[in-house]
């Protein structure tokens, strides 16, 4: 469901590329006799995509080569994932018990939690480097298979990485940031692989199912359709800017373009790692109000504030020791907060676009501030739930795994807000012209 919804976000060009990829994926699937069951629900190939297939699968002999190339990639993918698994295992997540002690003794829990988030990022970032060099050394072996093969191989690698995990493909599509999986995607894939290995235990199966559901829940809470509406306004604004630029030449054009660049510079994305994780539903309300105080419009934040209040209450009142239940609740909370944050942005965009007089500097400031608040919000609640889990059981691998997953989905939620933030830029630019 998430997949099909998210596809609507893409601009026409990207849709075309996406279709090509899909078709190539399908082709590979079919030829390699993978066991993914096809149902009648699958899209019927359009004539346009058939052309693509003909060009990319030039002849049967080329295909033979490709097939073996694909198999190489497949084994390569395994290698990559295994390396990532190792990377994950070697991440030093602070012992939850220790964390709890520190929290009890020290008010400064913020910095501890920050560390717990930063550590995985830095460490795994470092591991990724060595991992990438691994990949390149393997690639060089593959070169002996022929340069043509390698060229095709490069194109197919990403497809096959995506194919091993349908979920990652849908996420990439929805993020639409680039065709390269980002760190959190890789970590997530590795996580799921790890769960596969442990599939003997029913607990890890549950965990895996839970992991998949962030996107599903985000869709349930209408997060994806809010983003879609925002993207429509964003594209519309881009078109209007183009129309305004078209008749201009020389100095007038240069000035206009300078204005556009200035607005873009105003919209610097806050760094997700530099945000507090000590928001409460009370501070949230005042921060949100403060963020938009210079705007001449009213934005209704009631829903997101109420949601935070409910979450606070739940965390305070939950006294059972079911860590799985807490974990499930945390993913639900992150998905809901993320959807509501996207809703705030969508509404803000519509309100600003309906104004006859715009104030770009103030708008850019508000949009950036909101972004920071949402990042803090996700960090805070991810921290709260993970702390709750470590209070119950701080030693078991299961608990640590749950905490890691919570922070993964937290970064996932952050990515969606980043996407919304980027979509906002043309909307602000239009107001400045």
């Amino acid at each position: 469901m998430a997949e099909s919804d998210s596809e609507a976000f893409e601009s026409a060009d990207e849709e075309v590329i996406e279709k090509k990829e899909n078709d190539q994926q399908k082709k590979i699937k079919k030829e390699e006799q993978t066991q993914v069951t096809k149902t009648n629900d699958e899209p019927i190939k359009s004539p346009a995509s058939d052309d693509t297939q003909q060009s990319s699968w030039r002849s049967w002999s080329a295909f033979g080569m490709l097939k073996s190339a694909s198999q190489n990639v497949a084994s390569l993918t395994t290698h990559v994932s295994q390396s990532i698994s190792t990377a994950i295992e070697s991440i030093n997540i602070p012992d939850p018990e220790e964390m709890a002690k520190i929290n009890a003794n020290n008010e400064a829990k913020t910095s501890t939690e920050d560390e717990s988030q930063k550590t995985p990022n830095e460490e795994s970032g470092f591991k990724l480097n060595s991992l990438l060099s691994n990949v390149s050394s393997i690639s060089s072996k593959v070169v002996s298979g022929g340069l043509d093969t390698l060229e095709e191989l490069g194109k197919k690698t990403i497809t096959i990485i995506q194919e091993t995990d349908p979920n990652i493909a849908s996420k990439l599509r929805s993020m639409n940031v680039s065709n390269k999986p980002n760190l959190s995607d890789l970590l997530k894939e590795a996580k799921e692989r790890e769960d596969d290995e442990l599939s003997g235990s029913s607990q890890s199966k549950d965990l895996k199912n839970q992991t998949v559901s962030f996107e599903h829940l985000l869709d349930e809470y209408k997060g994806l359709v809010y983003l879609e509406a925002l993207e429509i306004q964003s594209n519309q604004s881009k078109l209007k800017i183009e129309v305004l630029l078209k008749p201009l030449t020389g100095k007038a054009l240069a000035e206009m373009q300078e204005t556009l660049t200035e607005v873009e510079e105003l919209c610097e994305l806050p760094d997700a790692d530099n945000f507090d994780s000590d928001l409460t539903s009370i501070t949230l309300e005042s921060k949100l109000k403060k963020a938009i105080e210079d705007l001449s419009i009213e934005v209704n934040f009631t829903e997101i504030i109420n949601c935070a209040k409910e979450l606070d209450q739940w965390i305070t009142n939950y006294n059972d020791n079911d860590t799985q239940r807490i974990y499930a609740k945390s993913i639900e909370a992150l998905a809901k907060l993320c959807a509501l944050a996207l809703n705030n942005y969508q509404k803000l965009a519509e309100l600003l676009l309906s104004l006859s007089h715009r104030s770009t500097a103030d708008e850019a400031d508000s949009v950036s501030q909101l972004c920071g608040i949402y990042f803090s919000l996700f960090n805070t609640y991810a921290g709260n739930y993970s702390e709750k889990i470590s209070q119950i059981n701080s030693t078991s691998d299961e608990s640590k795994k749950l905490s890691t997953n919570i922070f993964l989905e937290c970064s996932n939620a952050t990515s969606y807000v980043k996407k919304a933030f980027q979509l906002f830029i043309p909307i602000l630019q239009l107001g400045a012209l």
Binding site: M1, A2, E3, S4, D5, E7, A8, E15, E32, Q33, T34, Q35, V36, T37, K38, T39, D41, E42, P43, I44, S46, A74, S75, T77, T78, I160, E163, T164, D165, P166, N167, E192, R193, D196, S199, K205, K208, N209, Q210, V212, S213, H216, E220, K222, V225, Y226, A229, I232, Q233, Q236, Q346, K347, A349, E350, L351, L353, S354
Partner: protein
């Protein structure tokens, strides 16, 4: 919550004719006499069954206010169905239908199914637009017509479902290119809900086949 198709609807018409109330009645089966003015667009969704197939209706409920007109127009594109609503107790809302219809036709795909709804049919004593007038307008412009009441729920279910049936028939006839999402139709994903054990099997197999 998997579905065979997703249809995107838009609800349009003058402010205060009851668009949001019709949606609320359809999705939540309740009536809210005082409703906040809609800003930009609000969303609703409900699953229905047609011809034994699960269909998800994703409804974009637009603001009727003039100030949002240029914003909401950009949502028309990519809708498979439109509910064009007027208020039978306010003639001016009926008089504005032509403008709404032109707007809709201009900014949407040509196959979009448009349903004309005369809302507030429970307020018979305050009626200003005869049912026959609605019927005539619909006939003239090739629309399907119904009188509805968001308050009593009369014809509300029917209006949304009838529209879906028309879209579904057009799909069967091959009128809609279902692979083009600009038509407001999406084909459901094959993936099963995350809680289903089958879902984990499928992904497990696909990763095995690749290793």
């Amino acid at each position: 919550m998997s579905y065979a198709y997703l249809f995107k609807y838009i609800v349009i018409g003058d402010t205060g004719v009851g668009k949001s109330c019709l949606l609320l009645q359809f999705t939540d089966k309740r009536f809210q006499p005082v409703h906040d003015l809609t800003i930009g667009v609000e969303f609703g969704a409900r699953m229905i069954t047609i011809d034994g197939k699960q269909i998800k209706l994703q409804i974009w409920d637009t603001a009727g206010q003039e100030a949002f007109r240029s914003i909401t127009r950009s949502y028309y594109r990519g809708a498979a169905g439109a509910l064009l609503v007027y208020d039978i107790t306010r003639r001016e809302t009926f008089n504005h239908l032509t403008t709404w219809l032109e707007d809709a036709r201009q900014h949407s795909n040509s196959n979009m199914v448009i349903m004309l709804l005369g809302n507030k049919s429970d307020l018979e004593s305050r009626r200003e637009v005869k049912k026959e007038e609605g019927e005539a307008f619909a006939r003239e412009h090739g629309l399907v017509f119904m009188e509805t009441s968001a308050r009593t729920a009369a014809n509300v279910e029917e209006a949304f479902i009838q529209t879906a049936k028309e879209i579904y028939e057009k799909i069967q006839e091959g009128v809609f290119d279902i692979n083009n999402e600009a038509n407001g139709i999406k084909i459901g994903t094959v993936s099963t809900p995350p809680t289903s054990p089958i879902g984990s099997n499928v992904s497990g197999q696909s990763s095995n086949s690749c290793c």
